[in-house]
Symmetry: D2
Amino acid sequence: MDYVYGPGRNHLFVPGPVNIPEPVLRAMNRNNEDYRSPAVPAMTKILLEDVKKIFKTTTGTSFMIPTTGTGAWESALTNTLSPGDRIVSFLIGQFSLLWIDQQQRLNFKVDVVESEWGQGANLDILASKLAEDTAHTIKAICIVHNETATGVTNNLAQVRRILDEYRHPALFLVDGVSSICALDFRMDEWGVDVALTGSQKALSLPTGIGIVCASPKALEASKTAKSVRVFFDWNDYLKFYKLGTYWPYTPSIQLLYGLRTALDLIFEEGLDNVIARHSRLGKATRLAVEAWGLKNCTQSEEWFSDTVTAVLVPPNIDSTEIVRRAWKRYNLSLGLGLNKIAGKVFRIGHLGNLNELQLLGCLAGVEMVLRDVGYPVKLGSGVAAASAYFQNNTPLIPSRI
Amino acid sequence: MDYVYGPGRNHLFVPGPVNIPEPVLRAMNRNNEDYRSPAVPAMTKILLEDVKKIFKTTTGTSFMIPTTGTGAWESALTNTLSPGDRIVSFLIGQFSLLWIDQQQRLNFKVDVVESEWGQGANLDILASKLAEDTAHTIKAICIVHNETATGVTNNLAQVRRILDEYRHPALFLVDGVSSICALDFRMDEWGVDVALTGSQKALSLPTGIGIVCASPKALEASKTAKSVRVFFDWNDYLKFYKLGTYWPYTPSIQLLYGLRTALDLIFEEGLDNVIARHSRLGKATRLAVEAWGLKNCTQSEEWFSDTVTAVLVPPNIDSTEIVRRAWKRYNLSLGLGLNKIAGKVFRIGHLGNLNELQLLGCLAGVEMVLRDVGYPVKLGSGVAAASAYFQNNTPLIPSRI
Amino acid sequence: MDYVYGPGRNHLFVPGPVNIPEPVLRAMNRNNEDYRSPAVPAMTKILLEDVKKIFKTTTGTSFMIPTTGTGAWESALTNTLSPGDRIVSFLIGQFSLLWIDQQQRLNFKVDVVESEWGQGANLDILASKLAEDTAHTIKAICIVHNETATGVTNNLAQVRRILDEYRHPALFLVDGVSSICALDFRMDEWGVDVALTGSQKALSLPTGIGIVCASPKALEASKTAKSVRVFFDWNDYLKFYKLGTYWPYTPSIQLLYGLRTALDLIFEEGLDNVIARHSRLGKATRLAVEAWGLKNCTQSEEWFSDTVTAVLVPPNIDSTEIVRRAWKRYNLSLGLGLNKIAGKVFRIGHLGNLNELQLLGCLAGVEMVLRDVGYPVKLGSGVAAASAYFQNNTPLIPSRI
Amino acid sequence: MDYVYGPGRNHLFVPGPVNIPEPVLRAMNRNNEDYRSPAVPAMTKILLEDVKKIFKTTTGTSFMIPTTGTGAWESALTNTLSPGDRIVSFLIGQFSLLWIDQQQRLNFKVDVVESEWGQGANLDILASKLAEDTAHTIKAICIVHNETATGVTNNLAQVRRILDEYRHPALFLVDGVSSICALDFRMDEWGVDVALTGSQKALSLPTGIGIVCASPKALEASKTAKSVRVFFDWNDYLKFYKLGTYWPYTPSIQLLYGLRTALDLIFEEGLDNVIARHSRLGKATRLAVEAWGLKNCTQSEEWFSDTVTAVLVPPNIDSTEIVRRAWKRYNLSLGLGLNKIAGKVFRIGHLGNLNELQLLGCLAGVEMVLRDVGYPVKLGSGVAAASAYFQNNTPLIPSRI
């Protein structure tokens, strides 16, 4: 019997781990296999190519590491940089904070560019730092594409433009954990050197694969990077890629088959349609928040996130109570406010394998919870705003036309 | 790859087969087993006792037949009646119609008591028939507890009162397919002689088990009933019950384990809480229908069904188009109008393992579809009405308090 | 937690229900679906065509009935015959006995042609009966292709030859429960009128679908057959086939998807290769039995079954104890001796999704059990005999060459 | 459809990843969950206690890290040691080699004590090194309990005795990847400071959790250890343990539930019975090898491994061909010879959720493959030797008595 069973389905709207589609659950429902048989390398080879499509890279090299996003971060940093290297990093929320903490503990010299939580990365400061850095002491720019704690999406194209403007050779390292495969992400076009995501986010799998793509420039950097690394060392992978056996250590057979199916579903829907669907879900959520008379934690439209919305609650309400109550009464899982904004925001994750009616159920639930905790929301108001948008903008399901 | 894949979950709101809870899916995810080993009879023995709880019978004998509801009907009739026997049967919608068709083809003499679709069984006519029948030529009363086509719940306690009033010995046979384990059903208290349901309804399993309970009087009747039967013969079961091997032919191992878990979930929630939850879902649905300015196919409150709501659409709208569009655009599965009311109603099934937010997602979807087909519903109106009711009436999930 | 857990896999060697391949388990691991949506009929239509391939019929009409083999028997009989019709039926073991019991209870006049258990159907008597029956009072010949209780395979081609010789128009009804999709079965070539199997046998699914194929002549007979039937009535199916909705009542969604995958696996392996594999497994089992110094219940090579072997034990040994001990000590499930031969034989089922090493594990287990119960078998002897055959006759797995 | 489908089950006898029991597959067959809800921490808390039982430690602190065995190694080293620290490490096969490689790349000063492959760790050299090291420059002893490449089990009790004899304070770090939960392992009694295993080994789960236990002394060492670490840092875990949320980053929900069930199965069987079962499987395998006239790669009985047997093949045979053929013809997965002994040995993994008949099937398969590649083994000989042992030593399955 499960822990804390409640009737009906759990409504999972945390921004990760997200809902797994049934075909993926099915694909993973299997015994182990010998990963040294011909089958697993053959499957791996194709997967390594296919994951590159969700990064929109053809020149990158992909790694599927048995780890989490935190491990993928570490892989990105230690393979490209040496202790003492100067990097510019943007602190805009809890996850960028944690990455910066990692950067510092890995002994890099980090120029932390801080914004108020709810704002995007301050790219003006980036520009001025690059302008000053004619000696090219800055070795890397580290930035989260989408800050999961605040629902802020940074403008990566603009980062690339600034780097180009100053002809600065710094590596461009991107945490795409809550963006890749849900937001528009263009590794090659934007000249990203390392990008990474985790299987439990937009790919809608269980936790367990950190997917990292490295540009040729990043691979080149890895040859001289002096950061100590073994488990996360790309070279161990590259050695096995050459051998055609692909795995320096045992992968999860189940996750490989799950990833195969997850990609199949994404390609069947069409990556651009997946991104459009996230855009639709994000927009509808924001319309609901507005209808409720609440504020988005994200302070400006330019940074609105289509994968997670952090909603500010009035000062007299504890957002933690909203999350607790949603789970206890309505079997609805929302995201907590973290760190600085704990108690002040709750988060609606709208990424992964999710559709319009699932979100509307969530929004209806949030409305009830808001009333439960004393906020006089008009029931149905957010749902109405979101539905109006959906009704005008949702395409027919292609396979059913 | 699945047929007709759409992103996110399918919103399944047909009145059967219904949503299967994850713990039940897990329980069924297993290889076959020897059903003649000691394990399967041991499990069967307990299941036969436990299923009686959802019928609220202690004196009945239960049968778990590898068939559908149609087969369970046939089992109820052929084990208790002989060709030519006179029975009174109520025609109030498509499923009672089909049962009557079966009764006639099995060569019983059926007094069909017809009501307008949307009304309950005409029990006044029953009373007058029983009054006249001093010779006790009527051998059985056949009635559906809940007509799935129209969302009409008949008053079984009243049927018993009438039978008692006339001290009539007719057998009382009940189709509880869309009621048992969701609506208040009291086999012993109401003196029901045979009651039956199907695994794919309120038990929230796949199709495949017809569950039939027979009163001592029904078992007695089976000894002289002359209807030809083999597969559906209770005696073959009773013979194997005595042997302690329980199965005259091969059961589905998967469904037995699934049923075990389904019952565990129901008992953990509490049968009365399960019934209260259905009452809540039914009430909320009706409030939404009202808010939409639409009519319930069920013509009077006394017959309102808490497991399925048939919604009448305005004459200019084809309800079939609503169902089609819901599926094609919103991955929402609604029930069609059947036979006489095809095109005139669509149905929302709200039975089985389902919670408030799932229903609200469905209602929000219906609103969008209604606009899609040209009915000027106010978006959010039904959701608001339903939520208002839920917010005042939904208990905390007990395991999470 | 399971009942009676033992470490490692259960070795399932009863002749049904049999081992389900992992891809089929995966395919069935799914929520319910609306069976009135366009998807399920589309899938059903193709399945109805594809199941005909395992019957080797192109002219037959197939039915997938939510029932067991016993129900499929009833479907075959009641759709083609009228009460009082004379049929010739062969009693050669427990399953033919049960079918005959059904025939009699359904009020047919059965000429029972009995053989000693361990022998095949006495076709000489059939010939003489047909020779005498110039008035064509015999309406049907009923025969099991493979008697699961004794491991006897009847010669159906010979039955057809005899029918043809006497130009007798009797219907030819075949129980193919433990043969179809494992033994060579040729519905069209042999002029079989109704053939049937169950999903839990060679198809390697859970119990729950009785698959019946009817020849044009059988369909024609169904128009005048007067046996009472509703649940099993082909006409209800045919009506829905014409409508394109295919289902007179709710099918098991899970079994449909499971059947789809089961057929895909069979077609990928190749039906003839499936049959050859069963032939290999049967031959190897018989070689082992011989090496153990034990006798096959089947008295002559002409009737040897490639799907089940019934092994006679010496008089001082109780075969029931062998089966019990196999399960209790080695997690091995063998088939009991039934009825007349209870205690005298145990059965090794070798049908369905099974390979050589699985069988060798079983044979090694049987050897240990034989010693456990006091039979002085030479350990390894049966395995050696079987392996020698396998090593000379097992092809490479085609997908791995 | 799967890659490289073959009928029947795959016979998985590599020493990892190993066979997953059905109840564990079922437990993992689930959607994601919010790992910040009350449920996941509550489950985690109990798991952290329960995993300690398979290490036989009550004083240790456990970590369940989303990584593989290689990551668990890194966690053990970097949390307890500082760059430049001197350690003694034993090279006896491919996995000890890889660990030493990691130790060197992590900048420790490694005294490599090499043995011939097939022999255990040379503890005499350890003794002499400790005797000389009165200044206590040796900071840690690193040793694999069971070398998976050669099937050699080291004597850890003896290591502890030597350390005690010289009152040497070096940390005692143990790779228990292919031993813990299958071989007798006593963390507390043997004074092991860090022990580790991977979920895909004796626990019979998918790959994905590196389980590490640290003694109080190891935890103390972690406070001053200067090795750079973030993802693998125990302190991040300890911080969240204190908070009661337990996870510094997202765990695999599926693996947690899988681990819960895996431990339940182990505790139901009894850890000592699990170990006895492995002892039985190991002994039987060695008897088979002897019967085949082949040599065990392990050169002396004192080092025989009960989880994996590496079998030396005659010089004219390429063991790689044995592995290839087993897979291509018999759906049998054996372990390759690695590095120095590539082509010279094949390996039979006999660890995890496995029973006697599964192993006998494997042994029968190996016999056929041996003949296929030209080695004149007597078919049945190994099976006979193994069965004779099993038949005398296998207890009844307790739940079935």
